[in-house]
Structure formats: C-alpha cells, structure tokens
Symmetry: C2
Subunit: 151 residues, 2 copies
C-alpha cells in the first residue's frame, strides 16, 4: 500500500467517525515529515460552527501544535474535494500538497465551482492529487444522506 | 448618522485596535435585531490561525452566543471586502446582509476575484452593500503596510 493510501485510509476513518456522531462524513489528516500530526472529521454540529470543516479543524490543530500560522511543508488528506471556504484556508496555510478523495460538483472549489487555485486572487497554490479512495469517500456521503431524503 | 454608519464605525474601531496589536487592520461586527452581538479585529497572529479573520471570528462568536450554527437574520459589517475563505463562511452561516467598506482587488471574493456569491456552488447569497467608510477602511490598511515596504 502506498503511503498516500494509508493516510487517506486514516482520513476515511475520521469520516466514518463523523457519520457516527451525526456529522456530514468528511474526514481529514494533516501530515508533516511522513507522520500524521492532526486528524479530524467534520464537526460543525458538535462545535456549532459552520467553519469547523475537517480541513479547517486539522489546519487549526496543526498550527496550534507547531506554534505557527503557516504550515509550509505540510500535506493535507481529505476525503472530499474542499469547498470554497476550505480552499481559501488551505491556500492561506501554505499547504504543500492536497490529496482529496471524491469530487464535489455541487460545493467543491478545486476542480469544480470557482476552481480557486487557478485564480489570480489565490496567492499560494498547493500541488493537488485527486481520486484517492474516491469510491469509498463518496459512498460514505451517499449512505449518510440516503435515509434523510424522502422516498 | 445612519445606523449602518454607526455599525461600520464600530468595525473600524476593531480594525484600528487590530493594527495596534500588529495585526492586519480589518474589523467586523455582527448585528442581530439592531444590536452588536460580536465584534473582532483580525487575529491571525494572536491566535496562530490563518482562519482567524475578523469575519470568521464574529461568525464563530455569534454562533457560540446564540447556540446555533446558522445566523439567519444576522448582518455582518466588515471594513474590507471579504476574501474567498470568508465569503464561503458568510454563505454557510446564512448571513442576511453583508456591509463592507473598501474593495480588495487582490484578495476579495465578493465584487472581485471569484465573485463567490454569483456562482452556482454558492447556496446562500446575502444582500451586499459596499463602499461604507471605504476611504477610512482603505487608509488604515495603507498606513499599516507603508512602513513595512522597502523605500
């Protein structure tokens, strides 16, 4: 198993754990020097905070642990394509590489929507790798929303 | 003085206070039922947190105070055009009206950059009013950055 698969597997565990808490199942881990230094699922409901997406949660935790705002050299693994808010945060945090699982045509902002990293108002662009474990990442979301939709 | 001018004056006070702390001088207040319920300047340096823009600080504080994620009915006053990250957060938080001061051609995302509120991946659009106290809002930023630029 490639190392990147292992880190995405950890992000998927965070996504599953989020679903069990009634949160939208998206998970992320932040990797520095080959080791996970922060992990989180989406926690918007638990924290009563619309900004508590998994990506922002690990960026905040990583910055706290490292004692610095900018996380140059850190890689972010997230199960779903980041939204507009998170794409902005990823750029501000100077994330080196972004690995994401499933695309999000409705809310994504990397390869869909505003494609923020390709815009002139984006001042730091991470390397982007997509499609890791995308089937499993997307299935978690489909399963989560299925019972809530009228049949 | 119109009420909106008074709220923007409070946001400007937060911006000035941010500058005194060595933070980029942007300030915001959150207004519910005609009263300010949260106020903050930019605090990215103090918090070691790239997401601690003034807008996100007051959204998080407002949500904490009200005990709910979504701030429908709340109005946000901010001295500078929100960036891509903050535009996303403002939409997620269901802010009713956004009043901003100076435009930000380099980093703004409302009337510049990705113009997020006009995109199909934006699922809640606030009413937007711009140009309130824009001269003073812009001057604070110019004064802040001037001594740091090589002459």
């Amino acid at each position: 198993m490639a190392k990147s698969d292992g880190f995405m597997a950890e992000a998927l565990r965070e996504a599953r754990s989020a679903a069990e808490r009634g949160e939208i199942p998206v998970g992320a881990v932040l990797v520095v020097d080959g080791a996970v230094i922060a992990r989180s699922g989406n926690r918007t409901r638990a924290d009563n905070d619309v900004t508590a997406h998994a990506e922002i949660a690990v960026i905040r935790e990583g910055a706290r642990l490292l004692g610095q705002e900018r996380l140059s050299g850190a890689d972010l693994y997230v199960t779903l394509e980041p939204c507009t808010m998170c794409a902005g945060a990823i750029s501000f945090a100077r994330i080196r590489r972004l690995y994401y699982g499933a695309e999000d045509p409705k809310g994504g902002a990397v390869d869909n929507g505003v494609r923020f990293f390709r815009q002139p108002t984006c001042h730091h662009v991470p390397e982007v790798y997509s499609g890791l474990a995308e089937t499993e990442a997307a299935r978690l979301l489909t399963d989560f929303f299925r019972p809530r939709r009228p049949t």
